[in-house]
Symmetry: C3
Subunit: 419 residues, 3 copies
């Protein structure tokens, strides 16, 4: 084979692997963000949930999800059918992603990149249902979500399904998944939260709302920075190819726009919180950064850096109002995941119309509506079945004492808190 | 275009983006380091400062700084003029950095790399003024520093200004910015600290000095490791090019020397603290690592690994004496930023003479003096105006209760501390 | 030189440097894991140990270790002999790793990759001897381990020694060091623990075993995620070359298998702990992830992803039983390092037989036995000499008050704990 083609293949594979490693790192980001935002007595459990859901996502996506989401030939010819899982000698021939005789990058690097995306979608759920859900009920949901619910709709956008322009002529444009990943995760979370109900003490009988501050703000901040860094892999890797001038410029623009949108989100959320609450609110600044990142994810390639900053800034304002609004509706989301990934995810999908000629308002709307309908509906059914089979909520006493004791039999900070 | 040239362009762009992502990660490092070094009651505010200053740096550098610092044609022809910000179609043509018909790497990857440097310089300031400054006064300074003060002097060294050998014949050599970034940040910090005064209770009327221990040593250690990792991008990326044997060897040497200087700094600071205080002092070991990194930053390419270790080790000893010395002068710097980045930054610039034939003692001195004079002077003026307009220091009562309550209305560790 | 060859050289060098940076990051992972697993009163000391051992490893390996481990010509011709350390002009010519006229990648990138491996081996020791060892005794051991004990046996496998098939015909296969790095570290740790004895209060006179919970579970979880991420560099970089289709596919498979083994380890350890203790145990899930990673390290290139998951899962079960078993034998290892890296390291080496035709049961066994015998024996002698010269254990009172006070003169969390 031509040595230059081989080198190009190696570079694109490496770019994919580095991007995937950065997305894997987002699992640590979600863990730290959520561990910082809950009370000390529920911290060990949310850490257990986070590392376990990542592991489950990897295994389920290997066994089921990947072939459901990318059933096109070339890929399912070898993965994850039994021959491959058992290590057949034919794998080597199919290790490349090719088209028309050209080869692009290692198929396994593509799998690695996709599998860490699934874990991201699932991580969104764990924060929203924190502090009151049974651990094993959550893990059971993770099996269904990562093996079936997520990949089935992922196929619509990325696997050749009906949301691709080529199939039905609908121009749904969602570059790295504001809708397909983030809103999908938020929809599953919302279904869980509605079935689960609010934490005890969060909403008074008299309509009052009680703030329940997180136990460890440095952890939450660290988690946000980890996610910000990981997002360079999430969006940057979604260009899929790097190895010529046009592609390299595209990846560079994606990095710049991703960074600027997050910066815009921080500043806008900080100012919005200052106006609303009279103080600079750290948790709002953190959520603003994440909102900016979610907002630009659907299209980091077409906007100018200034427009990317604006799209992120609007996300940052939206997230502040959404968090306040959901609390008024008594939808209890301890870390703001439904606002950050759901409400702002929808904004991100719709904002594609601002910069991309390919996107139409109606096409984006159909995408949002169909993804939400499927994920919310399927999740509600799944949560419901789990509730009937094993229950989803810990007892009042267990919730009062903290789920760390009841679910994990240990404390996250045994020496720091006075009980 | 030649496919090999395209591939080379793609590799250099990717190398730049990975380096930039590592430098962005340093923002998390400064946040954790500073959050660990202050008292619990001032932690949420310093986290808010850190994420906000990063966002402000990105926006101000996009709007102003980059074109002030790199006003040469080729670049300012498209950035950040209105056409680019609004997304004109002409951008694509200007997306490459080229010279004499050769193209090198994506211009946007260069912008990404530069913008994270600005944030680094600004991060240095936040630690030094911790525990007593008004949040919004700090953010106002961040706007001026990242939009004007830093880029104007950055131009001297890297944008074609008078510190480049070609312009005035002065051989100021500062590879990745011991002076241009680190000492510049420390000069701005020093100006702020002088105007602000020491924390209440730090220096007794009888001349006594009271240690105020940081609340969370694991965080400070984590921050140091993050910075160490990020520095591979900071110094490694400053070679700007990777794609041939000579450049690849150069980047590898930069990685090795950066690592060895930090290692030398740790060991030297550990021993110096043992001799001075009789114990192994963790904060000194951490500052030793950072001192080694700052010291080698001005020239990680010419020294042998052994010399790099020595340069770092001298930095590690210097930082211990500087921290003790500044305390004697009642210059209150809670995290030691002025010592690490300022005093050792000067050492780093001067140490270039040990290994680089291009560098002259007088040339390096002129660089240090001019950068310090400009940044210190302009910062003092800016801090002074901010003081007149909105005040820079919180009230005594607010300082006593912690700036988290007064500035952010929240606590960083609501369940861990007994107030 | 051919431009394509130069580009290939640059890509392989960059791949090596990125991998090395990820392995360096594992130093932060060990620090956080160990700091989270010990009690608050011993946290500052373990942080000091971790950053210091990394620095010592870098310096000792530069001065001694690298040339002991890779004495072949080509390399020791310039490194780390005096000419190189002093910066002789001949370095440039020797900066490349070449064979038969072909060049591959920068020699210094190879050194950088190797030096961070040494630090990994040494990091394993620090956790096992935590909470009762004298700091300077530990650092003295680090000097001997990283300068002599580790490199001498590293030579057997990777430097051309008797464990390479070419030399004696023994097919010892250990891709990235389940035995050469991890079990070696654990053997040194075991020797230290045996000489040191258990922590006071761990084992009652009546044969009872008292759990001593770690102070900070989020830190321990963060450390595990850092190690997981870093392992992509550890295993991924050990392929040594990336720049053609076959190598790129190999590296991609290594990433996938590394990730899947860790995932398998988490799930298996979680279930094993549920069965044994009736609860989902977070520390076991974390140790399960690490066990999966250690297990796959000896051969991440031959197994299918499903087999890799199984190998990791068996590691995850083994680690749970090993931790329980070592406690029964009153071998006190506060972080489970001997189980994770030693017991599972042996499993990893032996498991190579499941997928690699090159590996024989007897060859793997000889590798394990010879590495263990050398490292354990040499370490025991070294610890013994250190014990005679300066003592290895702090006094009972110092242990009771915490080694932070006695060894570092400071506290890690001065405001969080009630003493």
């Amino acid at each position: 084979m031509d040595q230059v083609v081989e080198l190009s293949y190696a570079l694109d594979t490496f770019y994919f692997l580095v991007s995937g490693a950065l997305v894997m790192w987002m699992a640590a980001g979600f863990s730290m963000l959520e561990a910082g935002m809950v009370r000390a007595k529920n911290t060990a459990e949310i850490l257990t949930k986070n590392i376990s859901l990542y592991a489950i996502a990897c295994v389920m996506y290997m066994l089921m999800g990947y072939s459901l989401m990318y059933p096109g030939d070339g890929i399912n010819a070898f993965w994850p059918g039994l021959p491959s899982l058992l290590g057949s000698a034919d794998n080597a021939a199919a290790d490349v992603i090719a088209s028309n005789g050209d080869i692009y990058y290692s198929n396994l690097s593509d799998f690695f990149f996709q599998v860490v995306f699934v874990a991201t979608a699932m991580s969104i759920v764990s924060g929203a249902v924190a502090e009151r859900m049974k651990l094993w009920a959550f893990l059971a949901f993770a099996v269904v979500m990562t093996g079936f619910i997520y990949p089935l709709q992922g196929y619509w956008n990325w696997g050749g399904g009906f949301l691709t322009a080529e199939s039905w002529g609908i121009g749904y444009v969602d570059f790295a998944g504001s809708g397909t990943v983030h809103m999908a995760g938020a929809a599953a979370a919302l279904a869980g939260v509605l079935l689960l109900g609010a934490r005890k003490g969060k909403y008074g009988d008299d309509g009052s709302i009680h703030a329940i501050p997180g136990a460890n703000m440095p952890l939450a901040t660290l988690g946000t920075f980890i996610l910000w860094l990981g997002w360079f892999g999430f969006n940057g890797g979604s260009e899929l190819k790097l190895s010529d001038v046009g592609e390299a410029n595209a990846v560079a623009l994606v990095f710049v726009n991703t960074n600027m949108a997050a910066a815009g989100g921080v500043i806008a959320a900080l100012i919005a919180a200052r106006v609303l609450f009279g103080k600079a609110d750290l948790t709002m600044a953190l959520n603003g950064a994440l909102a900016g990142l979610v907002a630009i994810t659907a299209q980091p390639l077409d906007p100018s850096p200034l427009l990317a900053t604006m799209i992120g800034a609007i996300g940052g304002v939206l997230v502040v109002f959404s968090i306040v609004g959901l609390d008024k509706m008594k939808i209890d989301d301890p870390v703001g995941a439904i606002s950050v990934h759901g409400v702002v995810g929808i904004w991100g999908v719709m904002a594609v119309c601002l910069s991309s000629a390919d996107a139409t308002f109606i096409g984006q709307l159909i995408g949002v509506a169909s993804i939400f309908a499927w994920v919310f509906g399927a999740s509600l059914l799944t949560w419901f079945i789990i509730k009937k089979v094993m229950g989803v909520r810990v007892s009042e006493e267990e919730e009062y004492n903290g789920v760390d004791i009841s679910e994990c039999g240990m404390e996250a900070y045994p020496e720091f808190t006075n009980k």
